[in-house]
């Protein structure tokens, strides 16, 4: 029988992770840097791995994970792509490979030093089924902070989404606002990461936002629809997995991918209809 008391925080966690990832995904996909999610997630993993090597375990691993992801976010935000003549995606690929290398080095060191790495390994894939109200509270706090930031700096983030260089040239404090946003991305993804895992984070950032872009015009509408699609992917995917007994993470990823495919088909049908 479906134990609602047990599964309610799981459903809330899935919906919250989806909504917050969809919200930040709107800016990340709009700027064509969806790789940012995986990069920050691996930086969090590297932080957690070295935290574990230092003897931390369980929920305490969140602290070094946050440290790793925030450091990476700051490096990305403060590194001026114009000065170094590097594309954001090139910087991301450098940071991603470096943090992934560090994470797997740390996992290897666990074996060499004979340490237990179960906590760290569970972070790789997440554990949505073990999401409790305490985790939901953390996700809610991180998501709330992100929402507040997006509301306060909406016009600046909209300009940065169009072009960070143009925004700076128009007198917008683009680097400061962007770096602040990246730090919040790091916090939200790290908090979500321990529950939903790295693979799901990537799909929940990219797919709901990309689906929203297919269907609506305007930044506010895209943000709202991406958050709804993200929440629907998280909640819908979980419910389908509960009914079919399939792995929840995989089903959530597939639901968000299906949403994007359906949105792309609907857009094509709309344009085909307008031609005739």
């Amino acid at each position: 029988m479906f134990d609602l008391v047990f599964w309610l925080p799981v459903m809330a966690g899935g919906a919250l992770a989806g909504a917050s990832s969809g919200l930040l995904g709107t800016f990340i996909v709009g700027m064509r840097i969806p790789f940012l999610g995986v990069c920050v997630a691996h930086a969090a993993l590297a932080g957690a791995v070295f935290g574990s090597l230092c003897g931390l375990e369980g929920q305490a691993l969140l602290i070094p994970a946050l440290g790793g992801s925030i450091l990476t976010a700051l490096a990305l935000g403060l590194l001026d792509p114009q000065r170094f003549q590097l594309d954001d995606n090139v910087v991301l690929s450098f940071l991603f490979s470096a943090t992934m290398g560090l994470a797997f080095l740390g996992i290897g060191l666990h074996g060499i030093l004979g340490r237990n790495d179960n906590d760290v390994r569970s972070l790789l894939w997440g554990s949505l089924s073990f999401c409790r109200w305490r985790d939901v509270g953390l996700m809610l706090a991180a998501g709330g902070a992100l929402l507040f930031y997006v509301i306060v700096f909406f016009k600046e983030l909209r300009a940065i989404m169009f072009s960070r260089a143009d925004a700076a040239a128009a007198g917008i404090r683009a680097n400061a606002v962007w770096t602040g946003f990246l730090v919040l991305v790091a916090v939200v993804l790290t908090v979500n990461f321990q529950t939903v895992g790295g693979l799901m984070i990537y799909s929940l950032i990219s797919n709901p936002a990309a689906a929203a872009f297919q269907l609506v015009k305007g930044c506010r509408r895209a943000l709202a629809l991406a958050a709804i699609f993200g929440a629907a992917s998280g909640l819908g995917g979980f419910l389908i997995s509960a009914v079919t007994d399939l792995p929840s993470g995989a089903v959530i990823v597939l639901v968000s991918s299906t949403l994007l495919a359906v949105a792309a088909v609907l857009r094509r049908l709309y344009w085909a209809g307008r031609r005739f």
Binding site: T26, V29, G30, R32, D80, Q82, R83, V152, F153, F154, K155, E156, R158, A159, M161, F162, S163, A165, D166, A167, A168, A169, A170, G171, I172, R173, V177, A210, A212, F213, V216, K217, G218, C219, R221, A222
Partner: protein
Amino acid sequence: MTSPAVEIRNLTVHAARRCLLEVECLQVPARQIAAIMGPNGAGKTTLLRACLGLVTSFQGQVRVLDCNIARLSARALAQLRCRVGYVPQLLPTHGELPLTVREVVAIGRTGRAGLFRSFSKTDWQCVDEWIDRLGLAALSNRAFSEISGGEQRKTILARAMAQQPELLLLDEPAANLDIGWRERIIDIIQTLHAETSISVVLVCHELEVIPSSCRRVFLLDHGRMIASGSPESVFTDGRVAALYGAGLRVMHEGGRHAVLPQGGEHV
């Protein structure tokens, strides 16, 4: 006496041990249109970016609207940039962008509105006014990525004008446009200048883009200024042939200018 809109002295810009730009003296008087011309790679865009403080390492003095760029704090530089409208050469046009034309024009007001403040009614009125003045009203709710290249240029021009700038910097405003759109953009620039009396610095490599009201041209080649003055005095047959190759001649008529192949009138 009014200070020049742009004043450059002994400017040198290096990148990767290569000198990109070396300009001894350049002055754009206030309320005038000036054109910075030259072949590809002459340093035109670098010069424009230096005026915006977007070139991070340079030597010399760049004064824009009476502010010394090198001495400005990040906050003061942002405030100066709010007074300068900029139309870049390359436009971000990827299909994923959900922004409407109105939202893109509104970017021009964002710096002026300031942090922690949402747009006032006046800000939106200014945005809509420039959308109307540039004939974009019918497109204002369309996605920026879905409109034509010429319409996108007009949108970016409206964005720059929504800043209510004292100086307008245009980098290849007619790039990739057909002749019809090119002429419309030139006409818009002339009209804006006549109506608002703002200073305009225009970067281009085609003589045909120079508006008739532009009476001052700076010619760059390999990062150095090789001539300045009126378009007629700068663009002589000999200089154009030396810069772009033999077999070309220049035509000046009614304040507009064009380069033709020798014997072009018979073709």
